[in-house]
Amino acid sequence: MEELQIQEFVHRVSTDEELRKELATSPESVIMREGFSPRVARIITRLVPHLAMEKPMEVSLGFWST
């Protein structure tokens, strides 16, 4: 289940400093090693800069959001 894959990966990154460091230096190799589907890999790639909560969240996705 893709939802669970995302949840577990985010949790691991936020609790594993080594993984965070590796992700910061070589995100592609980490994502490849995890064996994500192309769809989940695209999402994780987009999440990476935000995983440490150091970069502000991107703006809301829908311009129809009010």
């Binding site: 949840q7 949790h11 999402i43 987009r46 999440l47 969240m57 829908g62 311009f63 129809w64 959001s65």
Partner: protein
Amino acid sequence: MRDASQLSISSIAAQQSMLRERLHRLLALLHPELYNDVVLALEGAGKLLSRPDKEINPLSPALTAGVWPLLTLLIAQYVLPDIDLEHASSVAVAVECFVCALDLLDDAEDGDQTPIVRTIGTPRVLNVSTALLTLVQHAILSLSKQGIASTLTLRLLETIQEASLNAIAGQHRDLLAEQRLAQDLTQEECIEIAAGKAGSIMRLVCRLGALCAGADDTLCDQFSEVGELLGVAHQLDNDSHDLYHLLQDESSAILSEEVVDTSKSGKTDLVRGKKTLPVVLAAKTSTPLQETWGSVNEENRQYLQALQEGIITTWGICLLYRERARERLQEIEAQKPIAPALHFLLGL
């Protein structure tokens, strides 16, 4: 790309103008005193009669107004390019009234101090919602005077009834979840609630467009699925961003030991104990804060970290639903290209 965007924006602006004219004709049925309050509701943020703030959306201010009926209209035009505009716009303004009515109910039930609640008070807001729901029926029934087959009119009404019951059930589950501990809810329940609330409404918005244009069952189902996936994504996007922005304020307050008045925003989800997905996910790994945010201790810091993790996970799942919606839309597009304006409006 920019030219295509500008073309889409001007095309959308023309459609908005036509829908506003149709909506005003529908509203002319109302007593003047009721009319004023209903117009006030339809001038709310994102509604068809709103006047978007150019500072918020400088590229395309027009796009923030009336997206729901525009989607219905553009999908109808995708299915049947020469569809009668009076027919399609009647269905589209019914969508606008329906979404606005449910938004008002949602705000009243959640006790949100939104601008319209502050201006006219909850009793009048509830009555406006009732009026809008009646106008939904009126707009659809007006199709019979336009030579539309009664079987189609009935199907449209049945579809609206079905979506209403799903949305009401989703809202009810959401209200009941407020009484439960966040630890007791599951990720699946949160997504089911989002699907019931936002998913069923967006599903309706897309399905009515296809249905009123005579699409076959397969195409109706495909557009319905795109709508539902986008609706869930929209809800999760809101949940993650609302909490993110609240945390920005609250974190500052906790670290400086200040107390922040969270009621200023008008939206009170966290204060009311709404069990949104990021809150539920955070509760799985840390103990929720009790009573007050205003104390500095290790438990609070851990919970804030868990909330941040929940926000990122929720946003990731939101992106997942958008990816799924994009794939469904590509399946539709494999049959016939979709107009840039519709792509633009869907954000896909």
